[in-house]
């Protein structure tokens, strides 16, 4: 899968200010890792509300930077917060893979 990134809205906000964009991307990457680590910790524990909350937050920040596919995967995880651990593990793996691709593209933008 190739990550889809659409920076159009973000660029309207930053006005093309590269320093600001780098800062925002860094905030995104840090927050994404935070969300991911909580999803990893909770997928097998039955903590459905925490899972749903984190997937929801992850979706919000992903869509804000234009990571559409990542946002869609997070939305799926949010909606399926009652799924059994094996399914959540699969969803988590898909999110991790997509995030790695997004991170790669974002870092390319930052340099």
């Amino acid at each position: 899968m190739t990550a889809q990134l659409d920076f159009t809205e973000l660029r309207k906000i930053t006005g093309g200010d590269e320093m600001m964009e780098s800062e925002l991307f860094q905030v995104f990457l840090d927050s994404a890792q935070e969300c991911l680590s909580i999803l990893r910790e909770t997928y097998g524990q039955g903590a459905e509300n925490t899972w749903r909350g984190q997937a929801h937050a992850f979706k919000g920040i992903s869509l804000a930077v234009g990571a559409v596919e990542l946002g869609t995967l997070c939305k799926k995880a949010q909606e399926n917060h009652l799924a059994p651990p094996e399914e959540k593990k699969k969803m988590l793996a898909a999110i991790e893979k997509e995030l790695a691709e997004v991170e790669h593209l974002v870092k390319k933008e930052m340099h």
Binding site: E9, M20, L24, G60, A64, V65, G66
Partner: protein
């Protein structure tokens, strides 16, 4: 428009307001209570003359000056605009260096809330038995607040500060905007969208948002729903109960109808689903500015 100036016991005026509400079966009554001690008081006639422009677009209005140190202004129609105008006029009548106390100028728009408030006022005065509002009053139109309980409270000092800020609101040159968003990235983005044109306070929690609103009575508040220490709906409800004129926009990634319904029941003024565009936020601000212009527009004279 008919403005009656009635100089008699405040409780009689309040009881007559209850009768007016029951008689008209209208929900568009407004009641503003002004403490005389905070304004330059030169008599009832002078006050009525000064406040009269604020009441020009109302269907009918009455001013009661009581022996209790209060002035009660009641009106039918144009609730928001009239209240803004009353605040603006009272703001120009304050005594120099005066510090406003809670309830210096308070407005009530929901007939039920108004009825309860009047009951309290009358009970305090211990002068009359209270007659309840008729069940029909205000049935058709929504109340300003849905009246549900919320855990957010304000101390007397915070209320003083809030009323002070509320009086200044119509006179501000720059819009004060509150952003309550727990995600650092989204908070920062909204801040960037708004900064440069408006004064923005961006906070992450419900309580922090509440305290900030009490301090500044912001023109617009953008509230996220999911917050670490509560939720944006609760905050919206608390703000609307305190300040029926608050302009609140829910900004959320929850795109469910249920969330929209809750926002509606809290009488919020906008609902934006993330990811939002810069234009959507700008449109919200523009809608607020247009609404404010309507509330504060000087009535045209024939």
């Amino acid at each position: 428009m008919l403005v009656n100036l009635i100089e008699h016991r405040a409780c009689e005026g309040l009881l007559s307001l209850i009768e007016d509400i029951n008689r008209t079966k209208a929900s568009a009554w407004g009641l503003a209570v002004v403490k005389k001690q905070y304004i330059r008081w030169t008599g009832s006639d002078a006050f009525a003359l000064a406040i009269r422009p604020a009441l020009e677009d109302t269907v009918e209005a009455k001013i009661f000056t009581g022996e209790d140190g209060m002035v009660y202004i009641t009106w039918l129609g144009m609730q928001r605009r009239t209240y803004q105008r009353i605040c603006a006029i009272v703001g120009t009548m304050l005594r120099p260096g005066v510090t406003l106390e809670p309830e210096a100028v308070v407005a009530y728009f929901d007939p039920q809330v108004m009825g309860n408030e009047i009951s309290t006022l009358l009970r305090t005065k211990k002068e009359n038995q209270v007659r309840p509002l008729s069940a029909e009053a205000g049935r058709d139109a929504p109340a300003v607040s849905n009246g549900a309980e919320h855990p957010l409270k304000a101390s007397p000092a915070q209320m003083r500060q809030f009323h002070n800020a509320l009086l200044q609101r119509p006179l501000r040159k720059q819009l004060q905007v509150l952003v309550v968003e727990d995600q650092q990235l989204l908070r920062r983005l909204l801040l960037e969208v708004l900064r440069g044109h408006h004064a923005v306070d961006a906070v992450s929690g419900m309580r922090e948002g509440w305290e900030n609103y009490l301090q500044k009575a912001h023109d617009i508040a953008f509230l996220d729903i999911g917050l670490m220490d509560g939720d944006g709906h609760t905050l919206a409800r608390a703000i609307k109960q305190l300040d029926p004129l608050a302009y609140i926009v829910i900004v959320t990634a929850h795109d469910s109808l249920e969330e929209l319904e809750v926002a509606r029941s809290n009488h919020t003024d906008g609902f934006i689903v993330k990811p939002y565009s810069q234009q959507q936020i700008a449109d919200c601000v523009q809608r607020y500015q247009a609404a404010r212009e309507t509330w504060t527009k000087k009535p045209s004279r024939p």
